[in-house]
């Protein structure tokens, strides 16, 4: 395999790892964000003054957040596919000295 193919493969591999990482990482961040927000909304729901609105705000907050995070995740996955970092096309890189 030529140096050019090695470089090309390496960058495709990097793109695959990064896009997969962003795609999955964003979903983890979504869970952390919503779980922490639930703690706050839980307190607001126990306060009589904020109780009527907290449920509505929680639903809209979670909905908007999910939409944002999943859009980023989808975009990352799409970017990975667009860059051609498809495992079916990967070939092992030839070993060269460092």
């Amino acid at each position: 395999m030529s140096a050019q193919n090695n470089q090309h493969g390496w960058w495709l591999g990097m793109a695959d790892m990064l896009t997969q990482g962003v795609g999955h990482g964003v979903m983890k961040i979504e869970r952390v964000h919503l779980a922490i927000a639930d703690e706050t909304f839980g307190i607001l729901e126990r306060v009589p003054v904020t109780q009527p609105w907290s449920r509505v705000v929680r639903v809209s907050h979670h909905g908007i957040s999910r939409l944002c995070y999943r859009s980023v995740s989808l975009a990352a996955t799409g970017a990975g596919l667009a860059m051609g970092s498809d495992p079916k096309t990967f070939r092992p890189a030839k070993c060269t000295g460092v």
Binding site: A3, Q4, W10, G13, V32, F90, C95, V98
Partner: protein, 303 residues
């Protein structure tokens, strides 16, 4: 896209990525996964037809540790000298210095099996009859040696009869405190009811099989009784300690930074008969792979 050969930072990035996620990268056939190779003077050997100038009958094969590359063996302030090449000038008939490069995120037993197969091919095709085989393993590399010995014994490989010396340099035979800590932390966080704590546990759990094996020094495919050290081979252990004073508490807490002295010596193993044990206070885990004092010790043991 650049067309020049891969640079040093790219090789190191691949090694680090392989250490963390090597099994996952391999399953995706991702080119970042480091492929198994035996190198001589920075060039990959063709195992079927190894072309080497001045091939000697004694081979010294150095096996690096987690997230490392073969460059870890280069002694500082030398022209690319390593433990293997330093032996060459002292051992009668010379020593051919070979280094292994492998994906450190794969399960250790699989790397051991592949190393065993590789050595079998190598001794068969070597330009001159192989009379002596020396294996040096740093950190995870020490466990890979044990995995290869086990795989070779099971398969009845011929190279085991040529193996004279195994040197385990900072190898976590009883596990690494950091890998144990990661294992415990992930288990504890995964049991928490809060989702944000579980996520941290899940992220820690993304670590490769290779790292998981380091928590207990595992080199077998399935849990079970570990085979003893090969009886007809000399086994040596080298340990490092962070502080220069042996009694400094930091040595008891962290050992050489990643491996405790007791784990490197396999103190929890029964029936170990070691031909030599040496501890180097003030030499940390990484420097054990390229330290002049260690080189002198190896000369004393192996020449």
């Amino acid at each position: 896209m650049p067309s020049n050969p891969m640079s040093r930072w790219q090789h190191h990035t691949s090694a680090i990525a392989s250490g963390f996620f090597g099994d996952w990268l391999e399953s995706r056939r991702n080119p970042l996964a480091v492929s198994l190779a035996l190198l001589h003077s920075g060039t990959e050997l063709d195992l079927a037809h190894p072309e080497i100038d001045n091939a000697s009958g004694t081979l010294c094969i150095s096996i690096h540790g987690l997230m490392e590359l073969e460059t870890v063996w280069q002694l500082p302030n030398t022209h690319g000298e390593s433990y293997g090449s330093m032996l060459s000038s002292s051992v009668q008939g010379g020593v051919t210095d070979l280094v292994l490069r492998y994906n450190t995120g794969r399960p250790i037993y699989r790397n051991g099996q592949d190393l065993s197969e590789m050595l079998e091919k190598l001794v068969s095709s070597w330009p001159v009859p192989v009379t002596r085989l020396i294996l040096l393993g740093h950190s995870m590399g020490g466990l890979v040696i044990r995995g290869a010995c086990h795989a070779g014994s099971t398969a009845g490989h011929r190279w085991l009869g040529l193996l004279s010396d195994c040197v385990y340099i900072g190898a976590p035979h009883d596990g690494s405190w950091l890998a144990k800590g990661a294992h415990s932390m992930a288990g504890m966080l995964n049991e928490r009811p809060r989702d944000y704590l579980k996520v941290i546990g899940e992220v820690i759990d993304l670590r490769s099989e290779g790292i998981r094996n380091l928590s207990r020094g595992e080199f077998l495919e399935q849990g079970g009784d570990e085979p003893p050290l090969l009886p007809d081979t000399r086994h040596y252990v080298i340990c490092g300690l962070l502080a220069r004073s042996r009694k400094h508490p930091v040595n008891a807490w962290f050992g050489d930074a990643l491996v405790h002295e007791g784990s490197a010596q396999g103190q929890e193993k029964s029936g170990w008969q070691l031909a030599g044990v040496a501890t180097f206070p003030g030499v940390d885990h990484l420097r054990l792979a390229h330290h002049p004092d260690v080189a002198n010790q190896l000369q004393e043991w192996l020449v």
